[in-house]
């Protein structure tokens, strides 16, 4: 049987090109011979797999040309026809981690190839690969390379062979919310008693299912004078002018819309619609006010309850839009609203 084909992505540092001063090193593909940590992977693969190409890219270069470089990575990978793609490991390097995660997600989405990377759990890159790549837990420095390779290599082989991947605690990847069953050595009651003893003694223990927890932002102060406030409408329900002039995708949108409602007192079937693909659009199409309440806001404006309705509204589709993009859109929309003198925002979601 022929060897499984592996493509490896690393940054300028691990390609032994140079440190921070070489971080603008442009993307490059080296076919054949493994580079840097690729040697360790090759060793770990033995006769089972080989690295057929190494993509090298400077961290600054990547982060300054994200879209373009990601696209290139996908193209390069595609040309090499691998069975699995390995990124990094990036340990605690933030920009490297971000590049690994972003490219891994893109390769997963566009080429439907299995992808593995390795990071320190606090690396911000971990989030970008969520649900897409297996991110192996590493320590916070490259000194952990030997261990990282030992975990990543067999996982990569399993993925390349489309074998069953076990639970995160068995395989050593970061659990990002996908629950996988496996048989423990001890029955549940015994584990419960052990956990209880640790909890009583104030010793560290690990819950088997962490309760969902979330990043928070401090609430902004309330609007003091509503009658003179400028309020903006934003929606993730995909409301846009009829015909969807900007071609906002119905899911996993790559852009947000900014549209004028100057002089509009009511959204109608004839003038507006929804671009959202995640729910039955007929109700929203019939009367878009059901998602974006322009009619009511105009009434309240006329009655003097609010000072003014902002003349632009913003729209995205919540459906499948990546967390990272949603964040980016949110920040951009916030910036524009602030500079337009808006005082508060009503954001509607379906």
């Amino acid at each position: 049987m022929s060897k499984l084909r592996v493509v490896h992505y690393i940054n300028q540092f691990f390609a032994q090109i140079g440190g921070e001063e070489k971080a603008d090193y442009p993307i490059e593909l080296r076919e054949g011979t493994p580079v840097g940590p690729g040697l360790a992977f090759t060793q770990a693969f033995g006769e089972d797999a080989e690295i057929v190409g190494t993509i090298i890219c400077g961290d600054s270069y990547f982060n300054e040309n994200i879209e373009e470089t990601t696209k290139k990575v996908v193209e390069m990978v595609k040309g090499l026809k691998p069975d699995v793609v390995i990124f990094g490991p990036a340990f605690n390097a933030g920009r490297y981690g971000f590049a690994c995660g972003t490219c891994a997600a893109a390769v997963h989405d566009e080429l439907e190839l299995p992808v593995v990377t390795g990071m320190y759990p606090e690396n911000p890159g971990v989030d970008t690969a969520k649900d897409k790549a297996y991110v192996v837990v590493t320590k916070n420095s490259a000194a952990d390379m030997r261990h990282a390779v030992k975990v990543m290599a067999p996982l990569a082989l399993k993925l390349a062979r489309h074998e069953h991947v076990g639970a995160s605690c068995e395989e050593g990847y970061i659990n990002q919310g996908i629950r996988v069953n496996f048989f423990e050595k001890k029955r549940g009651s015994e584990r419960a008693v052990e956990m209880l003893l640790k909890k009583i003694a104030g010793k560290p223990y690990e819950t088997e299912y962490p309760m969902p927890s979330f990043d928070r932002v401090e609430p902004m102060p309330a609007v003091k004078d509503l009658a003179h406030a400028k309020i903006a409408l934003v929606t993730s329900g995909g409301i846009c002018p009829k015909g969807n002039p900007d071609h906002i995708e119905s899911s996993n949108a790559t852009k947000f819309g900014e549209y004028s409602i100057e002089g509009v007192t009511d959204l109608t079937e004839e003038t507006f619609e929804t671009a959202h693909g995640g729910y039955d659009p007929s109700y929203a199409n019939e009367d878009p006010d059901r998602v974006l309440p322009v009619d009511i806001m105009r009434d309240l404006e006329k009655e003097g309850v609010i000072g003014k309705l902002h003349e632009l509204f913003y729209t995205t589709v919540g459906n499948g839009t990546a967390v990272a993009s949603a964040k980016k859109y949110g920040a951009e929309i916030g910036k524009r609203l602030l500079s337009a003198g808006v005082n508060a925002v009503i954001l509607t979601s379906t």
Partner: protein, 426 residues
């Protein structure tokens, strides 16, 4: 309260003319068994079969699993309130037939779950594949009400288990384990340094095929109460409960409650195992509030330092579980909770229907939505008529090679929320 639990391991079950236990072999006469079963007047006919570990046999739909036990000394009898009077049990001597169970099957409703595979991948998921199973297949009389059929089938299982256990009454156990719980004051004096721990067990109590009984009382009508941990070993708690087969406690699990057993192992060493608190899981929300309030109150009254809380069943008990956990933690008592998950077939959905940050120590028995392919087995005890009708299955589940693809939630005891099995998830 002190119970000496004698154990007699059954190495095989055989049908014969005469019912007896001899050299570890259980011989049973079908006639005797039938006579016992037919004392339930709503049962028209009863048949029996034997399923052994490793055999190519599937039992379905499983109603209950019961371990035969008999009281050999001391007050009361096994299954108080049903088979015996309502004397308080849990002391004296009890004999248990180990390595075997009585398994009742019968379609009370036309979408009944409960699968025990004796071999193949399905066998890994059910702890009952490791037992010699004496299967009881009962048909009801014509026009039998569902409630009556449920009750008759439940009683038939208990009666047959009691009959079988009675055969061993005079045989000396091979091994005896002693469990002792002193009364509160004595316990405090005996173990002044040890943390005081109790087990809080939530019992499913919501209607037909969703009920649990305590000393003969329907658990939905109890206020939370305190038992000595040995009481459940004598059948004080039993099951009328088989929908959502993976995470319901058959009577066998109540008799062999693993949390009770594992807390006893630490009793007097690292903890003082004070009590077994039972509470219910009702439909009416005010009942949930009341029961969790009372449970937290009892834990406080008992001066506890820590508890293990176990859940039973799917969905709404998550609400009871979180209420219990929050309120008990609010009393300054540390908790570990045991549950299972419904995270969807892809494992990506939120596992529980309720959550709270107080629930920071959780043991999971796995994702019940996980798909498993069960191969065709040579023999079916019961019927396969329902398998495509049940949760986690569909008409399409039956494959052309005779195998079926189902979610593990149909398998009896697969994700036991009292931690009877080893399945887990991360």
């Amino acid at each position: 309260m002190k119970l000496e639990l004698g154990k007699l391991t059954i190495r095989d079950i055989r049908f014969s003319e005469e019912s007896k236990i001899s050299e570890g072999i259980l011989y049973v006469s079908k006639e005797d068994l039938r006579r016992v079963a037919l004392t339930e007047e709503k049962i028209k006919s009863a048949d029996f079969d034997i399923a052994r570990p490793g055999e190519s046999v599937r039992i379905t739909p499983v109603k209950d699993v019961v371990e035969p036990r008999v009281k050999t000394e001391g007050p009361g009898g096994i299954f108080p309130g049903f088979i015996a009077g309502v004397d308080t049990v849990g002391s004296g001597k009890t004999l248990a037939l180990k390595g075997m169970a009585v398994v009742t099957t019968g379609p009370i409703v036309n979408f009944q779950e409960g699968v025990i595979d004796m071999s193949g991948p399905g066998a890994d998921y059910t702890p009952f594949s490791k037992l010699l199973n004496l299967c009881v297949i009962c048909e009801p009389v014509d026009n039998c009400e569902k409630h009556q059929y449920e009750s008759a089938l439940r009683m038939a299982g208990l009666k047959i288990a009691s009959f079988v256990a009675g055969l061993g009454k005079d045989i000396a156990p091979e091994e005896t384990e002693t469990f002792e719980t002193p009364d509160l004051l004595t316990g405090m004096k005996a173990f002044p340094e040890l943390p005081r721990v109790a087990y809080v067990q939530m019992l499913q109590s919501q209607g037909l095929l969703h009920d649990t009984y305590v000393y003969g009382v329907d658990a939905k009508k109890i206020l939370p109460t305190v038992l000595y941990p040995t009481e459940s070993m004598d059948g004080a708690i039993l099951s009328g409960n088989c929908v959502s087969a993976c995470d319901k406690n058959p009577t066998y699990i109540h008799e062999n409650n693993p949390i009770v057993e594992d807390l006893f192992k630490q009793h007097g060493k690292t903890i003082n195992f004070v009590a077994h608190v039972i509470t219910n899981e009702n439909v009416f929300l005010a009942d949930k509030e009341r029961s969790s309030n009372q449970t937290a109150k009892l834990c406080k009254m008992l001066g506890l330092d820590a508890v293990i809380i176990s859940e039973e069943g799917f969905g709404n008990p998550d609400t009871d579980l979180i209420m219990n956990c929050k309120k008990i933690e609010a009393e300054g008592i540390k908790t570990v909770i045991v549950t299972d998950e419904y995270a969807g077939r892809d494992g990506k959905s939120q596992s529980l229907a309720d959550a709270d940050k107080a629930a920071d120590a959780l043991v999971t028995a796995g994702n019940a939505n996980q798909l498993v392919r069960l191969p065709k087995l040579d023999k079916v005890i019961g019927t396969m008529d329902y398998i495509s009708k049940i949760a986690g299955s569909s008409d399409k589940a039956l494959q052309s090679d005779g195998s079926i693809e189902v979610e593990i939630q149909v398998i009896t005891g697969a994700t036991s929320e009292v931690g009877f099995h080893t399945l887990s998830a991360r």
